[in-house]
């Protein structure tokens, strides 16, 4: 009996902070992971796109509408990557959550963006990457800017918690700085290494760690590579002395494996987002995994 009362008490105690927490809804797991490090236990983060799903091919469902409706803060990747969020926001119709509202954050704001196409989202060749390449979270330096944006947005919706938010972010940045040094050192011997990737997901990662992604297996998402393209990649890969084939977790493997086998180089599966592989539970783990996996694969082959 006493046990029951205690258990009930414990349940209330653990439930209490959740009820008080700010509900933050992020479109992808990567944004959710960065919100989690800044918000700590102040926030309860929910994600719309499940991990290991292509956000550009995502179809929102009724429960997502509910999620958006009850959010204190919405965090999106932006750049046309999670374009379907606009439809959800419009349907909810809450001014606070619309572009410019206090509960809206486009995390791409202020970043040094790569592969810009223009100001408006255009659909070029079936490619929804409208404004710029959207995979900016794969550069750890960009996490500094993105977390600054998140901290500012959290200040807006919870001004009283300023100090805690600030402290959380400082703690994260200290850890990030230490790891970044280590990551750079791990990949430093492979600066300038040539790679072929399945999709164009790696420009930010490549810039930070000085890699050369020379070509892509599937240049247009969803359109299988033609035999001429595969033959071209084999020739190009031999000539450029490509050292590995980089593959995203949610794409078909056959073409990447075929190419890796023809070129005699390792097939390396790297994670593009938090949670897309079991080893990538949070943001730091994501980069840790990618850096370590790539460094291991490249050192196996180095003379």
């Amino acid at each position: 009996m006493l046990g029951l009362v205690l258990a009930a008490g414990a349940a209330i105690m653990t439930a209490a902070p959740v009820a008080a927490a700010l509900r933050v809804v992020a479109t992808t797991t990567d944004m959710a992971a960065l919100v989690a490090v800044v918000g700590g236990d102040l926030v309860e983060v929910e994600t719309i796109v499940p991990p290991a799903t292509d956000p550009e091919a995502f179809e929102p469902r009724p429960s997502d509408l509910d999620r958006v409706r009850h959010a204190s803060l919405l965090v999106r990747v932006g750049l046309g990557y999670d374009f379907w969020l606009d439809a959800l926001i419009n349907q909810v119709g809450d001014k606070r959550l619309m572009r410019g509202g206090e509960g809206y954050l486009d995390a791409s704001t202020g970043l040094p963006l790569l592969e810009i196409r223009g100001q408006s989202v255009v659909n070029e060749g079936g490619h929804a990457h409208g404004v710029a390449n959207p995979h900016y979270w794969l550069d750890p330096a960009n996490a500094v800017i993105v977390t600054a944006g998140i901290a500012e947005a959290l200040f807006r919706v919870a001004p009283a918690e300023r100090n805690r938010i600030f402290a959380n972010r400082e703690h994260f940045l200290a850890e990030l700085a230490a790891r970044r040094q280590r990551w750079s050192a791990m990949l430093a011997p492979f600066a300038g290494v040539k790679l072929i990737a399945y999709h164009n997901s790696w420009p930010y990662f490549a810039r930070r760690f000085r890699l050369d992604v020379i070509d892509f297996i599937e240049p247009k998402p969803g359109v299988a590579p033609s035999p001429a393209h595969v033959a071209h990649l084999i020739g190009e890969g031999r000539e450029a002395k490509v050292r590995a084939i980089v593959h995203e977790p949610y794409e078909p493997e056959d073409a990447s494996r075929l190419l890796a086998q023809k070129l005699g180089v390792p097939f390396v599966r790297l994670a593009t987002s938090v949670g897309s592989l079991p080893q990538t539970r949070d943001y730091l783990a994501l980069l840790e995994f990618n850096v370590a996996t790539l460094a291991r694969a490249l050192s196996e082959r180095s003379p």
């Binding site: 292509d54 040094p112 963006l113 330096a141 035999p227 949610y250």
Partner: protein, 434 residues
């Protein structure tokens, strides 16, 4: 050329194996008049594979194959029952329902498992280009076994396929033979769909068999025609996909479609008795002329009604003759049009230059600082917008040119088209009266 062969040889060999077994089953399927049964069976086996996948088994594992086979057997049993449905509705309705429900169930199952979308995509499109030698060995062994089974059982299997109520066989025996047919069919389709995709498997199955049926009623002739056409179409599709740089599966399906058109023409214009052949040639010529004239007439009318809208025929005409919109503009407008064309190229060149400069700096020389990246980004943005601006200028001027073309080109074309159609109608009428 060597590159092409090294990439295409294996897919072609696998295609030949597919054609040999699928065209044979296609003949059966056409006789049974259940064209979409393969889609239903393939989708049920995909559902089985998805259930296995959701339970953590790899699609190629024995457990994965077991699930797929189990669901295929269920599908075979349901299709066997469909013989009874024919009393109320056509069998095709039943098959169609089976297909959509199985597809929806697959989506619901994979929705709960990571990488489900990839799985669904693979089933639809397949990846015949990346097939492996081990797969080929598996296919050959499996198809040889099933081919042998069907050779041994050819009499009962053909009779239940060809007749709606086979004489001298009990209902139970008919059902049993039906089940054997559908199960072996399901196993074949299950094996091929993961490699070739639903669309291509359907083409392997139906198109060669249809072409065979156009030319003969004799089973052996039908099969020989179907096999050769299937192999030729596969080769043409693969070659086309290589030369024109197209996705392989879709290019092959298009090649099968094209071969059906060619086969229809060959049958009508060559493989008919002499009198009929002359009439057919004449009809074909008239049909081509009439459709060309109607096309010109409609396009010209469209040009007159709405000159600034998309004008596909005018665009083809401009490209073919080199008479671009600039020829129909005043001197000032022409200069603007031409400078817009030049500027577009120049701005795009600037964007490309900045892009390659930034790309090279990722791994060569000193890395670019963030502010430099931002500066490049804002230049790229401006140049892209300026390119779009020039594009807009071109569109406006093209509209202006077309507004003039509508009287100088559109009106004469209408007159010519109407005269041509009148002449054609008169010659047809005279021909009929003689």
């Amino acid at each position: 050329m060597e590159g092409a062969l090294s990439v295409l040889l294996l897919p072609f060999t696998v295609s030949v194996a597919f054609v040999l077994i699928h065209a044979y089953f296609g003949v059966h399927v056409l006789r049974r008049n259940i064209v979409f049964a393969d889609l239903a069976l393939a989708q049920l086996s995909a559902l089985g594979a998805s259930v296995a996948f959701a339970n953590g088994y790899a699609p190629a594992s024995p457990a994965g194959f077991g699930y797929a086979l189990l669901f295929t057997a269920i599908g075979a049993a349901l299709l066997t029952l469909s013989r009874g449905v024919t009393r109320f509705v056509s069998r095709e309705a039943f098959v169609g329902i089976l297909y959509v429900v199985a597809t929806a169930a697959t989506i619901l199952v994979v929705d709960r498992s990571p990488q489900g979308a990839e799985h669904v995509k693979r089933i639809l499109i397949g990846s015949i280009l990346t097939v492996e030698p081990a797969d080929l060995a598996k296919f050959v062994a499996l198809y040889a076994a099933i081919g042998l089974l069907h050779w041994v059982l050819r009499r009962p299997l053909l009779s239940v396929s060809s007749e709606s109520r086979p004489e001298g066989r009990s209902a139970l025996a008919v059902s049993a033979w039906d089940f054997v047919f559908f199960l072996s069919f399901g196993v074949v389709v299950t094996s091929s769909v993961t490699t070739a995709g639903v669309l291509l498997v359907f083409s392997f199955l139906i198109v060669p068999a249809v072409i065979g049926a156009i030319f003969s009623r004799q089973l052996l002739v039908v099969l020989l025609v179907a096999w050769s056409v299937g192999i030729l179409s596969s080769a043409a599709g693969l070659a086309g996909s290589y030369v024109l740089d197209l996705p392989t599966g879709a290019a092959m399906v298009a090649a099968f479609g094209l071969s059906l058109v060619i086969a229809g023409l060959v049958k009508a214009l060559i493989f008919t008795d002499a009198g009929q052949r002359y009439a057919n040639w004449r009809m074909a010529a008239c049909a081509i002329a009439a459709s060309a004239l109607v096309l010109v007439l409609l396009s010209s009318l469209w040009l007159i009604i709405n000159p600034t809208a998309d004008q596909p025929l005018a665009a083809v005409f401009e490209r073919a003759t080199g008479l671009g919109p600039a020829h129909f503009l005043g001197e000032r407008d022409r200069d603007t049009y031409e400078s817009a064309t030049r500027d577009m190229v120049r701005f795009q060149g600037e964007v490309d230059r900045l892009n390659s400069q930034e790309k090279a700096a990722r791994y060569q020389g000193a890395p670019l600082p963030d502010d430099e990246i931002r500066r490049i980004a804002s230049y790229q943005q401006s140049f892209s917008e300026m390119t779009r601006g020039e594009q807009f200028v071109q569109e406006v001027l093209r509209g202006k040119a077309r507004s003039r073309e509508r009287w100088t080109v559109g009106l004469p074309a209408i007159v010519v088209a109407i005269l041509g159609l009148g002449l054609l109608a008169r010659s047809l009428r005279r021909n009929r009266s003689t």
